[in-house]
């Protein structure tokens, strides 16, 4: 009743018209102004200083996938926020991490979460992981206009494929192009350094705990060389966000638990500042 500002108290006809089980498509027909992709862009490109999220890493292991993100948002040379959350649960079996313009990215994640939940409720069944990944592609394409203005959003999507029984990672580019990553990947400004680190630490028989350690090591290496990526902030107890998705669903690790991993890594780095050595041969 309160939500319906357009007429009487009854549900508007659009609500009772059978049709799509997609929330975005329904919004597009009913209240398009709520959709980020329907926003009008300024005619001439302008440079906007807005907080940017930085590095996200993801690693698969037998039986699941781990995603972790640092906590820094930057605006030019400033640190805009030191405890931003950039890894979100998308639904029970998947999570999404964001790099790029934080404000737009968080909105995209919110819409994506509702999209998945809405489908599940209307259809009475969950969407396939592939289907979810494709929905996210379409949302990134909707943001292309903004991306051309310098406000790009590049998510990383990871989930447990209930049908196949494995963890999968989907990487995106700014045009919505999508690729399935084998083993590990990273996005954001520190992703080059994180990827190098992941490459040396990744094995295909990691346990969930080891996969988390690999992710935190990679974020540490990214923060080491990229000023926009935040390392673990021990004095403020701000640690990376770590999410583990397995057959049992999504588990966001508590700060204490991640803190334990961080402390171990820091202890080792006091002896060997560049992190663990990979064998030469």
């Amino acid at each position: 009743m309160e939500a319906n500002t357009r007429g009487t108290g009854r549900l508007p006809a659009a609500f009772l018209t059978p049709g799509s089980s997609s929330f975005t498509e329904f919004l597009d027909a009913y209240q398009p102004e709520l959709l980020p992709s329907r926003r009008t862009l300024p005619a001439t490109p302008v440079t906007v200083e807005a907080p940017h999220g930085t590095t996200i890493v993801a690693v698969t292991f037998p039986g699941g996938v781990v995603m972790a993100g640092d906590r820094r948002a930057t605006m030019g040379n400033l640190i805009a926020q030191r405890d931003i959350e950039k890894v979100f649960p998308a639904d029970e079996y998947s999570c999404v991490g964001i790099a790029g313009t934080a404000g737009l990215a968080v909105e995209m994640v919110r819409l994506f979460q509702v999209e998945l939940e809405h489908y599940e409720k209307i259809e009475g069944a969950t969407m396939s992981l592939e289907g979810k990944a494709n929905r996210l592609s379409q949302m990134i394409r909707g943001n292309l206009g903004m991306a051309m203005q310098g406000l790009a959003v590049v998510p990383l999507y990871a989930g447990f494929d209930v049908g196949l029984g494995i963890g999968r990672i989907y990487n995106y580019d700014v045009t919505g192009g999508r690729s399935v990553e084998q083993g590990f990947t990273s996005v954001g400004s520190g992703s080059l350094f994180a990827r190098g680190s992941l490459k040396k630490l990744y094995r295909d028989d990691l346990s969930a705990e080891d996969a988390v350690t690999v992710c935190v090591q990679a974020l540490y290496d990214a923060a080491d060389d990229d000023s926009a990526t935040g390392g673990p902030d021990v004095s403020r107890k701000i640690y990376p966000i770590v999410t583990v998705v397995t057959e049992d669903g999504l588990d966001r690790w508590s700060d204490e638990r991640v803190g334990g991993v961080v402390q171990t890594i820091l202890g080792e780095r006091l002896i060997r500042p560049n992190g663990p050595n990979a064998p030469v041969n």
Partner: protein
Amino acid sequence: MTTPFYVSPQQAMADRADYARKGIARGRSVVVLTYADGILFVAENPSRALHKMSEIYDRIAFAAVGKYNEFENLRIGGVRYADIRGYSYARHDVTARGLANVYAQTLGTIFSSGGEKPYEVELIVAEVGSTTADDQIYRLTYDGSIADEHHYVAMGGNADQITEQLKRTHREGLPLDEALRVAVDVLGRDGSGEKRTITAAQLEVAVLDRTRSQQRKFKRIVGAQLARLLGEAAPAAEEPADTAADGAAADGAGEANGAAENGSTPKAEGSPEE
């Protein structure tokens, strides 16, 4: 020139009410009752895919009797209403009271407008609170009347008889297995008063469980868990409702998104039965 017959407004409304009531009474009943950890929904429904009760939002669920295509339409409308509201405001701002109001307005307008056939449905909108005292159950009838129910409610079939029996057998704060047995017992006694045994395969059971760690409290109880809860040797101790990771995922089959039966044979069961 012919003069149209005069039908008094009272008579017109009484006829429409009669029409709707008959349609609703033809189906089997749905029982909704509170238990220690939340709200329990039980219905006799042989179909695994055509549900009489569903999730609307985090703490809100929906149950219905009557014509499937009509209440399915209302259910989808409710999910859209809740999701739009939760998206543009906050998840906390979606309430059962708001939703019940919208349904009441919708049903009321349809009932009193001469152009539309009245909906042959009765709905329950329930919201689980953080304590038993905060649980809310609203019952909506075909004409848009809304009633704030406490502890238990039955609709469809012999709802009045079942309510009478529930008054005797339902207590506050029952554990889940006992509450379920109370509900199954009263469902099996409808009609002539003789007792039928209803098996797990004939039941549709769901809960809004406030102890569930997820944001979404709705969960279907199916398969082994349902059989265990119904089992005669079930322990008196409270069963945790939450074993599967996700209720909605566990129910598997996709729901037919439209009319499951044709409009000319109003029947309250979700699926055709002999």
